[in-house]
Amino acid sequence: MSHIHLPDGVLPVWLWASGYFVMVLIGAVLFRLIGKGDVSRRLPLLGMMAAAMVLGAAVEIIPIAYHVNLTVISGILLGPSLIFLATLVVNVILALFGHGGITVIGLNTLILSIEGILGYYFFKLLWRVSKRLTPAVFSATFLALMVSTFSMIGVVSLGTAHYEELIHGEHQHGIFGLELSGGKADHPEKEMNKEEINLKRFIAIVLPLGFIGWILEGVITTLIARYIYRIRPDLLKLEGGVS
C-alpha cells in the first residue's frame, strides 16, 4: 500500500489534466536525454520489466489487496530514465483492465515513477556509503515508498474542494458539472477546517497500511536483490564487492 491506483471520476479535471501535462513534459525531456536509439535497443528489456511489474500487481500478498510494485528493483535494473517509461506503460496496461483509472494515468505514473527513480538514487547513494546490499536495498525501498505515499496523499489533498462539491452535490441542480478551476470556497476558514478533518481521517487510514506496505516491499525487494546478486551480480551494476 505505498500508493493508491486512483480510479476515474474521483479527482477534479484540472488535477488529472495537470498530471498528464507534467507526465508528457517529463517523458519528453527524458526521451531527449536517453536518445531514440538507446530506448529502441532497450525496449524488449523495458517490456519485460514492465510485464514483471504488471504480474507483481496481480499477485496479492495479504488479503487487504496489497501487492508488490517491484518499481524499486526495476528502477535499479533499468535506471532512472527508463523506469519512468516503464511505469507509464505499466499504468496504461493496468488501467486497460480496470486497475486504476484512465484519466489518472498521468498522476499514477508520476507517483509510481517517484518510487523507481528515488529508489535508484537512494540505492546508489546508500551502496556508496555502506557497501552492504541488504541495508542499502531495504532503506532505499522504504524511503522511496514513503515519499511516494506522501506524494499520493498530496495529490489527493489537492482535490479536497472538489470532494466537498461532490459531497454537497445532492443539493445542486442539473446532471452535469465540469469544474476546471480549483473551486474556491465562500468561507475559506470554515472550509479549511472541514478539509483538515477529512484529510486527517484519510491519512490515518492510509499511513498505517502504507507503513506495512513499505516494510513488506522493502523485505521482498531486498530478498529479490540478494537472489539476483547470487545468480547475476552484473545486473545490479555494483561498484566493488558485497557484504
Binding site: 476515474d8 484519466t103 452535469f176 530478498l223 539476483i228
Partner: protein, 208 residues
Amino acid sequence: MIQLSYLDYSAVEGKSRLHRYSPMVKMIGMGLVLSGVVTLRSLTGLLLLYAFLLVLFFMSRIPLKIFSLTLYPLIFALFFIFLSGFQIYFILLLFLKVLCGSTGVVLLLATTPYPSVFRALGKFLPGLFVTALFLTYRSVFILLEVFEETEHALHLRGGVQWRHPWRTLINISNAFGHLLIKGIDNSEKMYESMVLRGFKDKIHYRGE
C-alpha cells in the same frame, strides 16, 4: 492475472455485435463513457450510464468471470469514503463513477483484441510508446509461462504457508527474482530475433 487470458480469449473468440464494431468506434465510445464519468454529477445519470454498460456487457456474452475485474477498483475507492465523512450520496456517486469507468474499460478490452487497440492508439501516440505497450503485453504472457513453472518449483519448496511467514517471503522473493532474471534473458533473445526480422523502432500490425 488469469483474467487477462480470459479477456484476450473473449476479445478474439467473441462473436457478438459489439465484437464486430471497429476498434476506433469502440474507443470513441469509451471516450464518451469517460466524459460521462467526469462530468455527470447526479446519481440518476450515473445509474443510467452504468445500466447501459451492464446491458452491453451481458449482450456481448462476455464470460462472467471477467465481471469481477470491473469490481476491483472499488477496493481503492473505499479509501475515499474516509474523506467524505461517510455520506451516502458521496459514496454512491463515487462508486458509480468508478464502476462506470472500470466496466467501460473491461468492456472495450473484452470485445477488442489488444493488437487492434494498440494499432488504433498508434494513430495518435508516439510509435515507440505503442511498441513498448505491445512488447509489455507480449512479455506478460511469456512471464506467465515462466511464473507457472516457478509456481510448481515454489510449491515443492514449501510454497506459500502463512504459518511460516519468513519462509513464505523468501519463496515469493526468490520466485520474483527468478522471474526477473528469466525475463531479462528472454528480452535479450527477443531483441536479437526482432532485429533479425527487420525491427526498426516500430512493430507493424497485420493489415497495415
